[in-house]
Symmetry: C2
Subunit: 117 residues, 2 copies
């Protein structure tokens, strides 16, 4: 199996962020839950999210979020760390992320510490 | 064929507007073009949009926008008139529609008068 570092993680530049791609990424409930969780707990590892979805499905959701520019991923050893690109999103699309986080209350339940490895 | 007025046009109340349903509705390029056109020309008839898409496909796109609460439709005789629910959207999700309209520049081309019946 190739090591994780073999394939570089592509992140769109802030200027290339696409509002419609981001909105599309956020209409999925699992991805929204990831975003809500990361807003509360930055720097979680991919395998810290274990509830309800299989690892391969989860990896796909993380990739969609990364390619849309919603999250940043980097590897630390064998762990892939995820953070929300909140400052960049706030700068590029003022108010959007706050609106999304506000409207997600009662709609999705953030992954709790108990669910995180 | 049943008359248009036979089936009532359902519109969600402002309090029931769902950000994620709205974002999903706006990620489609034809629907975004409709929104951009209505922002510039309120009160266009459904059959005023004739470019590129068949009437039945267009009707479906209008329904998605109406059911998401993005537009309001009402019948005047045989014409179905469309308006953007801009004030309600601005009140419920401040900044969202302005962001969408700003980011749509250069991405979609509004239907022009020449395309409108």
């Amino acid at each position: 199996m190739a090591s994780r570092t073999a394939s570089p993680l592509i992140h769109p530049d802030m200027d290339d962020l696409d509002l419609f791609k981001i909105m599309g990424a956020l209409t999925d409930e699992t991805r929204l839950t990831i975003v809500v969780t990361l807003a509360a707990s930055p720097g979680l590892a991919c395998n810290g999210f274990t509830r309800d979805v299989t690892p391969s499905v989860l990896t796909r959701h993380f990739r969609v979020l990364r390619e849309a520019g919603v999250i940043r991923q980097h590897d630390e050893g064998t762990r892939r760390i995820n953070t929300l690109r909140k400052e960049e999103l706030d700068q590029r699309f003022p108010g959007l992320l706050d609106l999304v986080l506000k409207e997600s209350v009662g709609r999705v339940t953030p992954y709790t510490n108990a669910d995180c490895a």
